[in-house]
């Protein structure tokens, strides 16, 4: 339905989008995901003809958005990041205006406005001034506006930003309802949101498309690349040796040690089904060695980690500075790096495989252990939270 090819957008000397290409297929929900300032809104603005591209093309059903804008725009309903509402009108007046401006025939206008009001749940406030509506309702009116004219594709830029949890849930439900009949593209910087609503994920980082895949595939990849984290009361060498005896050499990495406790991540190589049996083996191995296991858990659903990995790769220093890298409990400068690396290793099974980057430094279990459990626990909670 939409074909985006080699999109580039420069603002003066600043390049916001650096050659993005993807396709939007009919009847699915797409999530455009990326950190703030990654180029999501710019991409959406170009896709909807609100902004020109420096180079590249966007075709909607074969119509170029720049060369045949009228035909292309008819097929798209767009809600920009800030809903374009005239606050001195009521939702009903506003939607009638949009319908007329979009060229909906006069005979169909009232009916369509009525339908859209009902679908978005704004029927009850249709005669109140938009100025007096809550943010949630304004957002709904904004979505209603995008639906006017019965476009096949609805593009929503951060539709849930700034809403309270109840409103967020309502808007998500609304998006799911919409997707029954339309193709929907939403953007978000919140992974959970995209994971919740979308079928297909497009991850944008620093103006580049770093992932374009089915949500299910991403989740599978995330699950596969994780290991089992074991924390036991024993020396690093003992724990490592014990785990290797179960899982085979080279599959264990010690991620930290403090106060007699050692934390290590082990990759069973087996699928998730064999996980239970593998855990049993680990338990008995440690039991017979007389080393108590304090904790054993599998970090599931680390979509988050894939997202972080993909979006950090590109950026020289990385947005790591503001991404929860400050780990409580890490005492000082010298050990900070190790602590960071270890904690991140624990959080992201994937990250350990990375050949470069500052995370790598001591993740491989070099024996130079640092107190880390403050950070480790924090990360772990996050991981567990994702399970639900």
């Amino acid at each position: 339905m939409i074909e985006v090819r080699d999109l580039v957008k420069k603002y003066g000397s600043n390049t916001a989008v650096r050659g993005i290409s993807f396709n939007i297929e009919k009847g699915r929900i797409y999530g455009l995901l990326g950190p703030n300032g990654a180029g999501k809104s710019t991409t959406m603005n170009i896709m909807t003809g609100c902004l020109s591209a420096t180079s590249g093309s966007v075709k909607v059903d074969g119509f170029d958005i720049f060369e045949q804008p009228a035909e292309a725009k008819k097929r798209i309903g767009y809600l920009p990041e800030i809903p374009p509402l005239y606050i001195d009108m009521t939702p009903k007046e506003y939607l009638s205006f949009v319908a007329e401006a979009k060229g909906v025939p006069a005979s169909k206008r009232d009916r369509q406005v009525g339908e859209v009001l009902e679908l978005t749940g704004t029927d009850g406030v249709k005669d109140r001034l938009i100025r007096n509506l809550s943010k949630g309702f304004r957002q709904r009116v904004g979505i209603a506006q995008a639906m006017i004219g019965d476009p096949e594709i609805i593009i929503l830029d951060e539709p849930t930003v700034g809403l309270d949890p109840k409103q967020i849930k309502e808007i998500r439900d609304l998006i799911r309802d919409l997707a029954q009949v339309k193709t929907v593209v939403i953007s978000s910087h919140i992974l959970a949101e995209v994971a919740e609503v979308c079928d297909h994920v497009l991850i944008i980082s620093n103006g580049r498309l770093v992932a374009d895949s089915e949500l299910a595939d991403l989740e599978e990849e995330a699950g596969r690349s994780n290991g089992l984290t074991v924390r036991a009361r024993g020396s690093a060498a003992d724990v490592k040796a014990l785990l290797e005896s179960v899982a085979g050499p080279g599959s264990v990495s010690v991620t930290g040690s403090s106060g007699g406790l050692t934390e290590a991540v082990v990759k069973s190589g087996a699928g998730r089904e064999a996980e239970g049996a593998f855990r049993d083996k680990v338990f008995f191995a440690f039991a017979s060695a007389g080393i108590p296991i304090n904790e054993m858990y599998h970090r599931e659903s680390s979509l988050e980690s894939i997202f972080l990995e993909l979006t950090e790769k590109d950026i020289y220093g990385g947005p790591e500075e503001d991404d929860g890298d400050v780990i409580p409990g890490v005492p000082d400068v010298g050990s900070a790096d190790g602590g960071t690396a270890a904690a991140q290793g624990g959080a992201e099974g994937v990250a350990q495989e990375k050949p470069s980057g500052k995370k790598k430094k001591s993740a491989g279990g070099s024996g130079d252990y640092t107190p880390l459990f403050g950070g480790g626990e924090e990360e772990q909670d996050k991981g567990k939270g994702d399970d639900d």
Partner: protein, 287 residues
């Protein structure tokens, strides 16, 4: 276009803008009518309109300031850009709404000569001809102010720069007479204007070669013509400046002449600035 026009026109009257505009305009119309026609015993309504032009200097920027600037400030321009109609239709709808509000005001003012005719002899042809000129002058001024509205987000800035420009145009005849009429001065003035235009072009496009190219395109012929035929430049710049004296064109109406060239002049000016506004709005897509 129709939808934008209707929404825009209505918004002048659901808010205060339209009413305040009417109120101020009618108050001054009343004051001038009282002073000139009633107390001054002059039978011509044209003088009232002539005095009213100074009121337009203030009122037109205020009426037009929110037209496009407000869309940008409240981010509703996103909707306009995503509409399947072109920016031309949107801006045309907005301009027509402005002209309609102004037209209604002029129709209301049109009642004054009728009322006066009960108490004395009024030359209707001259009075209404002047009113038509007055209306067209207003349309041209609105287009200029709307252009400023398309450039900026802040309405106050729009009003101030609109007022400044209209004042400049108001005083243009005097300014033109200040400039020495020599050929050399004219050349320098032209080059200066072209240089300023090139700088503005650079600010708009951020492309140094486009602006240098455009500057060369105009400056080289200017200098060439100057070298070939110096006499042509004698007094040329002040004369050209005189053409931009928008308000002075209105004098011929006041003096009882139905000046077709002035009518063409105002309509051309209006079209030109509406076109510029469309360009300015469309250009926003390129930033």
């Amino acid at each position: 276009m129709e939808a934008v026009f209707k929404r825009e026109f209505r918004s002048y009257f659901t808010g205060m803008t339209g009413w305040i505009f009417f109120a101020v305009l009618f108050i001054f119309c009343g004051i001038f009518t009282t002073a000139i026609n009633l107390l001054g015993h002059a039978a011509s309504f044209e003088y009232v309109l002539s005095n009213m032009t100074i009121v337009l200097l203030f009122l037109m920027p205020v009426l037009a300031m929110r037209s496009l600037a407000e869309e940008k400030r409240s981010r509703t321009d996103g909707l306009l850009y995503s509409l399947p109609v072109g920016m031309r239709d949107v801006v045309a709808g907005k301009y027509l709404a402005l002209v309609s509000v102004w037209g209604i005001a002029c129709l209301a003012i049109g009642a004054v000569p009728l009322i006066l005719s009960f108490y004395g002899k009024i030359y209707f042809a001259s009075a209404y001809g002047t009113l038509l000129g007055f209306f067209l002058l207003g349309c041209a001024l609105l287009a200029i102010c709307m252009f400023f509205s398309s450039l900026m987000e802040n309405q106050i800035l729009v009003a101030v720069s609109g007022f400044g420009s209209l004042l400049l145009l108001y005083l243009m005849k005097g300014i033109a007479s200040l400039i020495p009429a020599g050929a050399g001065t004219s050349l320098l003035a032209f080059i200066a204007v072209e240089a300023v235009a090139a700088v503005i072009l650079y600010l708009l496009t951020k492309n140094i070669w486009t602006s240098v190219g455009a500057f060369a395109l105009f400056a080289i012929p200017t200098v060439t013509v100057y070298l070939v035929k110096k006499s042509l430049f004698e007094g040329l710049f002040p004369k050209l400046l005189g053409y931009t004296a928008v308000f002075d064109r209105f004098d011929s109406f006041v003096n009882g002449i139905f000046d077709i060239t002035a009518i063409v002049y105002y309509i051309t000016l209006a079209f030109f600035f509406v076109w510029l506004s469309v360009q300015s709005m469309d250009r926003k897509r390129w930033n």
